[in-house]
Symmetry: C2
Subunit: 298 residues, 2 copies
């Protein structure tokens, strides 16, 4: 983050019905269906246009799984491409399952497996999102796998959608809410993974649309990096994310998808230019805010 | 179910390090890596051995995703194979995400999408498991997609693992637990999908290891089919699942994975025979239990 002066995560969430015009050229040299080839071309162009302003890409796994047999290949190409440009790769699959199954998901997204017939490589993600509904033993296998390769885990705590009110916001007997209980679990699971900068390898997904809860979330999770989705299309504003950065610049990753890729529909002109400008605008806003938060805390 | 006199779901959860001996022959005629080819051969043999005693197969998506680029192809082959044998296909991915993302997951698992470059087929599952932590709007897109093709959704309510105590069992202010709140949501979302037999297209995943809560779960969800995992290796017993069948034989689907595929390690002899015998034993136990529950309720 310090090197790139950025906390911006480019969300890769390609809708095959709303790709950039250059996607029509496809991805020569890669054996893929026409749709997968177009999605790959679009996503590569989007990464190339915005890489300088970003610190990470976030692959929305659903959008690639819907490409069928070619989906995993497209994800792999994009993860490699992003890494070559120095970007962190976040696999946003929100998985969560019991022990052996969680371990298999973690292997698929991180380092792969050694099978009797030889190694099967994983996606090579640096960070993965995890759903904690099933509890501690559904999250721990991801943390173990992450630690084996210096990666991390981002646990859903309070999401950016209206439905977050249905379960996550329920008040618990004895005080607090379901999300606050999950936050306590995140802090506990991350305790052994706090590095020398005071940031843990167990972080939290916290909707930028729930900025009113950010100060409380930071109190409960002093060591977690917050992945903050929901800026832009969902109504979240960078300017409200101050408390995320209280422990320092690495305290928050600001994720934006459609507000970057679709910027050209409002501004006109080439999509690359509008995307680059919007990513840079977000970068500048988040970086200044984090600087302020760090100065205020010092 | 009535036709096959079975409520048994064969869980396909293949561990590449513990396949049946015949997996070594691989799957001739299919272009796959050695590991994927072995997993496919094992899983096909397992389906063939037990199909007569079962009503459905349940694909544990993690185990196929860990096969990398070949994973989706193997899943597709197995779903087709199961369908040809008259089995229902359950995609157990426990997905859950906001609107557009949930819709993409649903398309990937059900019917696929129409992209500008032509249709991309989905897995063609009949039922999918869904994680409700993110609330109503994370579940609804799956229900919409299921209804378009006469399929259904199985929502995680109370899972079979020890970690279920961490979040699902939390007591809510004003009474009840998180899982009971989810159960109420399941019943509400399923109201429009209740068919003439009184069973809804919105069902529940309810761990067979939590049989002490089954009567309460049935009270809260009178119209839901319960998918009951955790029989066998995890300690659940068919004999304790009576309340699931109160609304009739379609009230419960009993899922077993390792207890079927690994039966031969205890009994000796060919794995097919032991798997068939264990599946048949479970079928008989569940069917008698359901008959009793139906008679008692009549």
């Amino acid at each position: 983050m310090a090197e790139r002066e950025s906390q911006i995560v480019l969300g890769l969430d390609p809708d095959p019905g709303a790709l950039w015009p250059q996607a029509a050229e496809g991805s020569p040299g890669v054996r893929l269906s026409a749709t997968a080839s177009a999605v790959l071309a679009h996503s590569r162009a989007l990464i190339d246009a915005t890489a300088e302003a970003c610190v990470a890409v976030k692959l929305q796994l659903a959008r690639f799984e819907v490409l069928g047999a070619d989906g995993r290949g497209v994800m792999g190409e994009l993860a490699d491409h992003a890494r070559r440009l120095g970007l962190i790769v976040i696999a946003d699959g929100k998985r969560g399952d019991i022990g052996v199954t969680a371990a298999a998901y973690a292997s698929a997204l991180f380092a792969g497996i050694d099978s009797p017939d030889g190694p099967v490589p994983g996606l090579g993600a640096d960070l993965v999102t995890v759903n904690p509904l099933m509890g501690r033993d559904a999250v721990e296998p991801f943390i173990l796998a992450a630690r084996r390769q210096g990666g991390g885990v981002l646990v859903l705590v309070r999401t950016s959608n209206p439905g977050a009110a249905d379960i996550e916001d329920l008040a618990i007997e004895g005080g607090g809410t379901v999300w606050e209980r999950i936050a306590a679990l995140v802090e506990e699971l991350g305790r052994d993974g706090v590095g020398k900068r005071g940031v843990s390898d167990v972080g939290a997904v916290f909707g930028a649309t729930a900025a009113e809860h950010l100060a409380r979330a930071r109190e409960l999770m002093p060591h977690a990096t917050f992945l903050l989705p929901g800026v832009g299309a969902q109504g979240g504003r960078v300017e409200e994310l101050g408390p995320a950065f209280r422990p320092g610049r690495a305290g928050g990753l600001v994720s934006a998808s459609r507000s970057i890729s679709e910027a050209y529909r409002a501004t006109g002109g080439p999509p690359e230019r509008s995307a680059r400008e919007e990513a840079e605008r977000l970068r500048e806003a988040a970086w200044s805010l984090a600087e302020e938060a760090v100065r205020a805390g010092a």
